[in-house]
C-alpha cells in the first residue's frame, strides 16, 4: 500500500528548500523529488517540532535540522501515523489547561504545607552532633566577646541549673555587647547580651528571659526554623526574588510567633518549678512595651502588627506572665543580691574580654 502527499522539506544538510512528495509505505515513508528519492524514514522517529501558521512542522530524531512541513488539510491516513501536536508541553496537554492548573495548585499547596509542617517532626531527628557542630561553627568563642569571671560564672551556672534539668547540654554565655537582647542558637547555645543584664532590675527578670531562650533550645525551635527557611527557599526558589521573599517572611513569621508563645509557656513553667516569681519578667515586658510603642496602640492595630511581627507584642506577653503569678506562693529570688551583682558586673570586671563595639548584627 502506498499513498502520496505534497510537502516542503529541508534535509538539515543545507538550506535548500525542497518540494517533495511523501510516499507512505506501511510504517515508513520516502521523500520524492524530481531526481532524488530519500528515505526510508520510520514514522516512529518523527517528532513534532512546531506550528508555522496553519502548517505543522515535523523533525526526525537524530537528524539535526531535518524538517517536513505539511500545509493545508493533512489526510487522516497520514495524521494517524504522525505524532500529536504539542501546545503547552507534556503534562498540561494531557490534562488540559484547567485540570492542569488545579493539579498544579494542589501540588504547590501540598509542597508548602510539607515545608511548613515537617520541620516539627524532622528537627528532633537531626542528630545532636550535627546541631553541636553547627553551633560551634556559628558561635565559636564569639570573637572573644564572652565575659568570664569566677563569681559571675558561678551565679550564671546556678541560674541555669535552677531553670533546666540537664544544664550540661546547654552553653549559656554573656556577651559584651550593649544590646537589649538574648538569642538561642544551634547546639544548645544561648547568648545573653550585656545590655539586657544592665537593663534588668532584678535577677528574676533575667531568669524569665533565659528560661524563654532555653525553651527555644528544648523545643528544637532553632533547627525547625532553619529547616523551614531552607525548605521555603527551595520551594519558593522559582518565584521572582521580591515576592518570594515577602511570602517567605510572612509564612516563617507566623511560625516563629508560635515558637515565641511556646518558649514563653516553657519559661512560665520552669520558673514556677524553680519557685521564681514571674512578676519581674512581667514588669520587664512592661518596660519593653514602652520601648516598642505597643502600649499605646489600639487593640485593633495591635492585632495587625502582632500578626506581622515575629515576637508577640510585649503588652500581651506582660499580661500572660502576670496571669501566671500564683497568689500566696512563696517565691524566692532567683539569685542572692551578691550573686546578682557579680553577674550584672561580670563584663565590666572582665579585663580580657573584647569590646562589643563595631559589632553589627544586621
Amino acid at each position: 500500500m502506498s499513498a502520496f502527499f505534497d510537502a516542503v522539506h529541508y534535509d538539515g544538510q543545507s538550506a535548500v528548500k525542497r518540494t517533495v512528495e511523501v510516499q507512505v509505505i506501511g510504517q515508513q515513508f520516502y521523500l520524492l523529488e524530481t531526481e532524488r528519492r530519500s528515505g526510508p524514514f520510520a514514522f516512529a522517529d518523527v517528532a513534532y517540532v512546531t506550528k508555522q501558521g496553519e502548517a505543522d512542522v515535523y523533525g526526525l530524531d537524530g537528524r539535526d535540522g531535518w524538517r517536513l512541513t505539511l500545509s493545508g488539510p493533512v489526510p487522516s491516513e497520514l495524521t494517524a501515523l504522525l505524532p500529536a501536536p504539542r501546545k503547552y508541553g507534556g503534562w498540561v496537554d494531557r490534562l488540559g489547561l484547567g485540570k492542569a492548573a488545579i493539579a498544579f495548585t494542589l501540588t504547590s499547596a501540598a509542597a508548602i504545607a510539607v515545608v511548613l509542617f515537617s520541620p516539627q517532626w524532622l528537627a528532633p531527628l537531626i542528630p545532636d552532633s550535627v546541631d553541636d557542630r553547627l553551633g560551634d561553627a556559628l558561635v565559636g568563642d564569639f570573637g572573644g566577646r564572652f565575659c568570664h569571671m569566677p563569681a559571675g560564672d558561678a551565679a550564671l551556672n546556678k541560674l541555669v541549673a535552677s531553670l533546666d534539668d540537664a544544664p550540661q547540654d546547654l552553653r549559656v554565655e554573656v556577651a559584651n555587647i550593649d544590646m537589649l537582647n538574648a538569642v538561642a542558637l544551634p547546639g544548645g547555645n544561648v547568648i545573653l547580651f550585656d545590655g539586657l543584664l544592665k537593663q534588668a532590675r532584678t535577677p528574676d527578670e533575667v531568669a524569665g528571659v533565659l528560661a524563654h531562650e532555653i525553651g527555644h533550645v528544648r523545643q528544637k525551635h532553632v533547627m525547625q526554623a532553619l529547616l523551614r527557611q531552607m525548605g521555603l527557599a527551595v520551594v519558593l526558589g522559582g518565584v521572582d526574588d521580591n515576592s518570594g521573599a515577602v511570602v517567605n517572611n510572612i509564612l516563617a513569621m507566623s511560625y516563629s510567633r508560635n515558637a515565641e508563645a511556646e518558649a514563653d509557656a516553657h519559661s512560665m513553667k520552669v520558673m514556677g518549678n524553680a519557685n521564681i516569681s514571674p512578676v519581674g519578667t512581667a514588669s520587664f515586658f512592661d518596660r519593653l512595651s514602652r520601648l516598642d510603642g505597643s502600649a499605646g496602640t489600639l487593640k485593633d492595630n495591635a492585632g495587625i502588627t502582632g500578626y506581622l511581627s515575629s515576637h508577640p507584642l510585649s503588652v500581651a506577653r506582660k499580661d500572660a506572665f502576670e496571669k501566671s503569678i500564683v497568689k500566696g506562693k512563696n517565691y524566692k529570688p532567683a539569685l542572692t543580691p551578691a550573686e546578682w551583682t557579680e553577674l550584672k558586673t561580670m563584663c565590666t570586671q572582665d579585663r580580657k574580654v573584647k569590646s562589643g563595639l563595631g559589632f553589627d548584627f544586621n
Partner: protein
C-alpha cells in the same frame, strides 16, 4: 503565500499579533503562578516558539527549538553550582564575623563577588550561544564551540577598564565586548564577524554623562534666581509659587524621565553601531531604529504597564521582539547551497546562569 503586503526592502518581517500572543501569555501567567514559578521555563519557551515562528527572514520563518526542560535544567545547575555555594559562603562569613574574623569574612565575600562578576560575563556569552544553537532557519542553526570561559575574563577586565577613567571608557567596553561575543558565534558554516567601532558613540555618551550635572547646575541657577527675586514676591503674587512648582516638577521629571530618556538616546546609538558592525559571510546587518523610535517605544511600554496596572508586563517580550525585528535589516545575498548545517556543539541545558542573574535580551 502571505496575506500581508510584501515589503520588498525588508529582509526581516514580523507577522505576529498581540491578540495571538495574549492567548499564550495569559495561560502562561496562570500556570506560572500555580506552579510557584516553575512553569516559567516552559512559558518562556512557548513565547519564543511563537515569536520566532512569526518572524520571517527573506522567505522562510525562523524556528525556536529550545525546550522548557533545558531552561529548567540550566536553572537547577545554576542553583547547585552558584546558589547553594553562595548560601554556604554567606553562612560561613556570618559565622566568621561572629567569631571575630571580619577580615577573613571580607575576603571571602570579595572572592564571592569576584566569581559572581566572572560568571555574569560567562552567562551573557552562553545565553547568546544557547539562543543561536536553538534558532533554525531553513533547517540550519547557529551556535559556537567556545564555552565562554575566556569571555568571562575579558568581561571582567574590560568592564573594570571601562570604569577606571571615571567611567569614561564604558562605551569602549560595551562595544568591545559585543564584538568579542559575536565574533565567537556562527550560523551554519559561517562565522559572524563583528567589528563595530566605539568612537562614534562618545558624543552620545558624554551627553548622558553630563546631563545630571546640567540638571544640577540648572536647578541651582533657577533656585538662586528665585531667591534673588524673593523681594518681589508680593508684587509677583502667585508667580513665585508657580516657579517653585515648575522647579519641583522639573526635578521630579529629571529623576524619572530625563535621565532614562538620555540613556535611551545613548543606547539607541550603541545598538545601531553594534548591529551595523555585524556581518555573516556575505550578509550585512543594520538596525534602523533612531533615538526617537526608542523613546516612543519606551514611553508606550510605560503607558501600557501603568494603564493595565502592571499586567501589561507580560506583553513586554512581544513588544521587545516586535521592536527588534521591525527595525532589523539585512543586506547581501545568501547562497542556500553553501549554507550547510552548523557543526558546533549543542549544549543540553539552557540559560540557567543568565536566568540566575536575571539579565535578558540579546
Amino acid at each position: 503565500m502571505n496575506d500581508e503586503p510584501l515589503q520588498p526592502h525588508s529582509a526581516f518581517r514580523f507577522h505576529g499579533s498581540w491578540q495571538e500572543f495574549a492567548r499564550i501569555a495569559f495561560p502562561n501567567l496562570l500556570l506560572t503562578i500555580v506552579t510557584l514559578g516553575i512553569y516559567r521555563f516552559w512559558a518562556t519557551t512557548r513565547e519564543r516558539e511563537y515569536l520566532w515562528g512569526k518572524t520571517e527572514f527573506i522567505d522562510e520563518r525562523l524556528e525556536w527549538t529550545g525546550r522548557g526542560i533545558e531552561l529548567f535544567v540550566g536553572f537547577v545547575f545554576a542553583f547547585l553550582l552558584i546558589g547553594l555555594p553562595f548560601i554556604v559562603i554567606q553562612l560561613v562569613s556570618q559565622g566568621l564575623i561572629f567569631q571575630g574574623a571580619p577580615v577573613l569574612a571580607g575576603l571571602l565575600t570579595f572572592a564571592m563577588f569576584l566569581s559572581l562578576f566572572y560568571l555574569t560575563g560567562v552567562a551573557y556569552f552562553r545565553a547568546l550561544r544557547y539562543r543561536l544553537s536553538r534558532t533554525y532557519w531553513r533547517g540550519i542553526r547557529g551556535g559556537s564551540d567556545d564555552p565562554g570561559f575566556q569571555y568571562g575574563l575579558a568581561y571582567m577586565w574590560k568592564t573594570v577598564l571601562g570604569w577606571l577613567p571615571i567611567f569614561l571608557m564604558v562605551p569602549w567596553a560595551m562595544i568591545s565586548l559585543w564584538n568579542d561575543r559575536w565574533n565567537a558565534m556562527s550560523f551554519g558554516p559561517h562565522r559572524f564577524n563583528a567589528n563595530a567601532e566605539w568612537t562614534p558613540l562618545m558624543k552620545r555618551y558624554l551627553l548622558f554623562y553630563l546631563v545630571p550635572f546640567v540638571i544640577l547646575i540648572g536647578g541651582a541657577i533657577l533656585g538662586f534666581s528665585m531667591a534673588a527675586s524673593g523681594d518681589m514676591a508680593d508684587v509677583l503674587g502667585g508667580t513665585g509659587m508657580a516657579i517653585g512648582a515648575i522647579v519641583a516638577i522639573v526635578a521630579l521629571l529629571s529623576g524619572y524621565l530625563i535621565i532614562p530618556l538620555v540613556a535611551l538616546i545613548f543606547y539607541s546609538k550603541y545598538f545601531r553601531l553594534a548591529v551595523g558592525g555585524l556581518r555573516l559571510h556575505t550578509l550585512e546587518f543594520e538596525f534602523r531604529a533612531r533615538a526617537v523610535d526608542w523613546v516612543l517605544f519606551f514611553l508606550a511600554n510605560m503607558v501600557i504597564i501603568i494603564c493595565t496596572l502592571g499586567i501589561g508586563y507580560i506583553f513586554m517580550p512581544y513588544r521587545n521582539w516586535k521592536f527588534l525585528f521591525d527595525h532589523m535589516e539585512a543586506y547581501g545575498e545568501i547562497n542556500v547551497n553553501e549554507l550547510t548545517q552548523s557543526e558546533t556543539v549543542v549544549t543540553k541545558h539552557g540559560e540557567g546562569l543568565l536566568d540566575a542573574f536575571d539579565v535578558g535580551a540579546i
